[in-house]
């Protein structure tokens, strides 16, 4: 039987489609395959170079404006500096009185955001620091406002961060007042959801939600968001709590990666992933 050129062409393209689909499914099964780490490194290096170029261009343009602003700022800072020196001395005296220790439990690595992933919204960020700077998978990422997410992959010089607005990221969280523990997740809304808080626990609008500390990844007490709504259904065991994130993920430029070590319950860390 002879196959016509059109039929052969169709069969070939269908066969190719099947091969690609199988390869994609294989890649999903062996997520983050080592064989692709070289390609990932080359890709992120190109992204980093592009980001550097973009920063240089933006810097040149804003340099003149910045100089003017800096002159004014310098004057204001000098005045403020003298006032702060007084405050510092006062602080030292008070610390001695209270016998407080400057106890930082974890070290931080500063990083710049150089891009975002291909998802529709912002579900992942690319950072300009990697393994050479001490970044590894499963390190927490913070900004001054609160929790951003966690590192999911690191090349020698760049890393990829999964942020809270990713349906696959679950974080163990706690209500700041009642200290009840639940799980924070994102379900596509402009807010996050705090799950598994029983109905008898009072949670009020405006209450702050923080990381619970029952984790190997996230340090305790890091702000996640503020309760914006609480709903109690008659037939549900748990409340439906909406939490507005404190971090504006679209405006992130600098973040901190936290190296946090604890002897926390391993089950809690596993449950988060």
């Amino acid at each position: 039987m002879r196959i016509s050129p059109a039929a052969f062409y169709t069969r070939k393209s269908v066969a190719l489609l099947v091969v690609y689909v199988l390869l994609s499914l294989g890649a999903m099964k062996f997520n983050d395959p080592f064989a692709l780490s070289g390609i990932r490194y080359a890709l992120l290096q190109s992204v980093a170079s592009m980001a550097k170029l973009k920063t240089k261009v933006l810097l040149l343009r804003s340099e003149a404006r910045r100089m003017e602003a800096l002159k004014k700022e310098l004057f204001r800072v000098r005045l403020e500096n003298s006032r702060l020196k007084e405050s510092l001395l006062e602080n030292i005296r008070l610390k001695k009185l209270l016998k407080l220790k400057n106890s930082t439990k974890y070290s931080t690595i500063a990083a710049h955001v150089i891009g975002s992933g291909l998802e529709m919204g912002v579900e992942s960020l690319l950072l300009d620091v990697g393994r050479l700077q001490g970044v590894h998978k499963d390190m927490a990422v913070l900004c001054p406002e609160g929790l951003v997410g966690r590192v999911v992959a690191a090349t020698p010089r760049q890393s990829i961060v999964q942020i809270l607005l990713d349906p696959n990221l679950l974080v163990s969280a706690r209500t700041q007042k009642s200290r009840e523990t639940g799980i924070i997740s994102w379900q596509g809304n402009p807010w996050l959801n705090l799950m598994y808080i029983p109905k008898n626990i009072p949670v009020a609008k405006g209450e702050v939600i923080v990381t619970s500390g029952l984790s190997r990844i996230y340090p305790p007490g890091i702000r996640i968001g503020i309760v914006s709504g609480v709903k109690k259904d008659k037939y549900d065991l748990f409340q439906k709590i909406n939490v507005l994130p404190v971090v504006n993920f679209k405006a992130l430029e600098e973040v901190f990666i936290v190296k946090y070590e604890t002897s926390a319950v391993p089950e809690a860390a596993n449950a988060e992933k």
Partner: protein, 160 residues
């Protein structure tokens, strides 16, 4: 396909991927950000057919996966199928509306597969996914796609 066209498109896809990661986030409005990579895959697929479309979709999708936090292979799968679909529609529609309709259908297929898998087993509302994410984002992508198609369309051709 001649080697020169292949090399040109490999470079185009590489540059597009880097632009998608570094520059396109600045064009984001609310949750919507145009998919430059998909536009290029559709332009390529409409000239080369299903084999070219699925190949372009697979390799660009896989490269995109390596620069994102989601499952590696997920973007490759969704873009392979949407690239194949775009290629299969080659010559099946009226020339004037071919690009817009194909881009819309391929984009819909891409987002549908991506969200079906990424939200598997989660309490996600499809109404929300369609009307808040997929549909507005598709219109944004089509709008940018039209701009690119009518300005760079002549240059982005595969030589016979």
């Amino acid at each position: 396909m001649p080697k020169s066209s292949l090399i040109k498109f490999i470079l185009v896809f590489a540059v597009t991927l880097i632009l998608q990661i570094t520059i396109i986030p600045y064009l984001q409005i609310a949750n919507w950000k145009p998919d430059l990579l998909l536009i290029m895959v559709v332009i390529f697929a409409l000239q080369t057919g299903p084999s070219g479309g699925s190949s372009a979709g697979f390799f660009t999708g896989l490269a995109g996966d390596l620069a994102s936090a989601h499952l590696v292979g997920l973007g490759a799968l969704s873009r392979t199928v949407s690239g194949y679909l775009a290629g299969a529609l080659k010559g099946k529609l009226r020339e004037r509306s071919q690009f817009i309709i194909t881009l819309f259908l391929a984009g819909f297929m891409n987002d549908f597969i991506f969200y079906s898998i990424t939200t598997l087993g989660k309490d996600f509302s499809w109404k929300l996914i369609f009307f808040i994410y997929i549909i507005p984002n598709l219109f944004y992508t089509v709008l940018l796609g039209l701009g690119i198609y009518y300005t760079l369309g002549n240059w982005l051709t595969v030589e016979a």
